[in-house]
Amino acid sequence: MTTTYDCRQDFADELIKLAEADERIVAVCNDSVGSSNLVGFRERFPDRLINVGIAEQDLVGVGAGLANGGKIPFVSAAAPFLTGRALEQIKADAAYSNTHVVLCGQSPGMAYGELGPTHHSIEDLSWMRAVANLPVVVPADPEQTRAAVRWAIENPGPSFIRIPRFKVPAVTPDGAPFGPGRSNQLTDGDDVTVIAIGTLVSRALEAAERLRAEGIGLRVINMPFVDPFDVGAVLAAARETGGIITAEEATVSGGLGAAVASLVAAEHPVRMRILGIPNVFAPTGSAGFLLEHFGLTADGIVAAARELLGHGLHR
């Protein structure tokens, strides 16, 4: 069996490593020391872990103030509360004010499964994308999680990193590019393209393998920067393949799929299938159950690819 990882650990390990060398780095959390995996950080740097208690608006505002005072705050909380509760602070204090605040949305998507829609963070990509001056990064594995932490320190403005809790295998090849407007093409294929992020990347790779056995070439692109995204790779896919599937653990209203669709519609219309969570509140169930329930699986991607090919619109 492939090894899978809870990326919160990689986030925390990388943060501690970098904080050793850069004393501007502080972590800010909302009673979430354990669930953000910051216990080790607190042990190592007791004064540099600021816990504002259960108060997310305060959390982001305090983060912006820390940045104003020369710190680099990693503001970390469960993604639904960080993005939903503090949306205006994110907009006004972090993005509009252009402060060097790193927003770390932990356990996003439906990772909290049975805890239900209040705890699912499926709107976050739409909300964060809608805010100007706020890069949105969705790591797919430990490597990208670490790269995102490093990048966010170098990047002088605000950013949002969505850190997976649902366990994922390593998918990033050695030397893969990482940065705003960059993506990784993981498989060759000219029949259909799937652009996948986060937990859906390994599922897309599985779909590609299955389709390859049928002689269908699925181009798998992983695009950790949802904003700003890799326009060139999307347009190439539109030109060179018979349709584009997007796959994300987020609502279909406004996330990766919407970003890709609005570019494609304007520049090079092709048929698309946007895989995500339809505009409904999920029923009760574990994260794994819910991913199946909404067809966010290799099967779902295979079916979407067949559908696009069935339309015979390619080339």
Binding site: D31, S32, V33, G34, S35, N51, V52, G53, I54, A55, E56, Q57, D58, P80, F81, G84, R85, Y112, E114, L115, G116, T118, H119, P283, T284, G285, S286, F289
Partner: protein, 292 residues
């Protein structure tokens, strides 16, 4: 939407009639028995779901039972009856104890409790009013229940309606600013028909409240926000019954209920890790042995 269990609901109504004529000590004895049954059912639900928030479930159990079986004016067969009292569990992560209490009252069949957090169950990890009768508003994100309860109390006042509204808050939850916004609204509108109960177990998810972001002096805060303050032992049913008497000052009432997180199971009491730890089969056995 789950539906009422009529025989259970009838039993509950009988109990309410009996208690109405009883003295406070008898009432308290009866309520304590129900609390025990609720705690036992919480243990079983969490053991089978392998998820839950047992510490807070146990600290709030006696409050829930006192409200539902001793105070609130409810009809489980008519959960949408317009003049019912409104009850809001703002610390929605303690859904297991709320569900057990609701099932005890006959809002839905007790057998439903075994589906807690199972795929497609109505009994999600946090309460959902669209699926569970007796739930007034969906909670889970902390800091939502108090403003909603304030609105319900305001509606009653505006409409000259008789119902009262009770909201239960976690103490860690009081760190959310929205609660203090609601407190100002409630006192500005002189909502004497509103009671806010703080489950003051002194622990939150990661540590003690006073080591995380101190709440004290909590009673003074309530008073200065314009509330009539009552401080009680939140595991003393008789004291809770008295504290839940209507306002005497025309102000909204705040009850600081001093409780113990994990109350009832010695190895869980006042221990932060039992916020959401799941008991092993052996711990389930030990817990049920103590809950008799």
């Amino acid at each position: 939407m789950l539906v009422a269990d009529p025989p259970l609901a009838a039993e509950y109504q009988d109990l309410r009639r009996r208690l109405a004529g009883a003295d406070i000590a008898e009432k308290a004895t009866e309520l304590a028995k129900i609390s025990l049954a609720v705690r036992r059912s919480v243990v079983e639900m969490i053991a089978s779901a392998k998820l839950g928030h047992i510490g807070g479930d146990f600290s709030v159990t006696d409050i829930l039972v006192t409200c539902f079986a001793g105070v609130l004016n409810l009809d489980p067969t008519r959960p949408d009856w317009a003049d019912r009292d409104r009850f809001v569990l703002s610390k929605g992560h303690c859904a297991a104890s709320l569900y057990s209490t609701l099932a005890f009252c006959g809002f839905f069949p007790r057998a439903e409790l075994t589906t807690f957090m199972a795929p497609l169950s109505a009994l999600n990890g946090h309460p959902n009013r669209v699926k569970v009768p007796g739930v007034e508003t969906n909670s889970g994100p902390l800091g939502h229940g108090f403003p909603v309860a304030t609105g319900a109390a305001l509606a009653a006042k505006l409409g000259g309606q008789p119902w009262r509204t009770v909201v239960v808050l976690g103490d860690g939850e009081m760190q959310e600013g929205s609660n203090w916004e609601a407190a100002m609204t409630a006192s500005h509108y002189e909502l004497a028909n509103l009671t806010a109960i703080v489950d003051r177990n002194r622990l939150q998810q990661g540590a003690r409240t006073e080591d995380t972001k101190a709440l004290e002096p909590l009673g003074d805060k309530w008073r200065s926000f314009g509330f009539e303050l009552r401080e009680v032992d939140g595991h003393d049913h008789a004291a809770l019954l008295q504290a839940l008497e209507p306002s005497t000052t025309g102000k909204p009432v705040a009850i600081v209920a001093h409780t113990i997180k994990g109350k009832g199971v010695s190895f869980m009491e006042d221990r932060v890790e039992w916020h959401h730890k799941v008991p092993s089969p052996e711990q389930v056995r030990l817990a049920l042995e103590e809950l008799v």
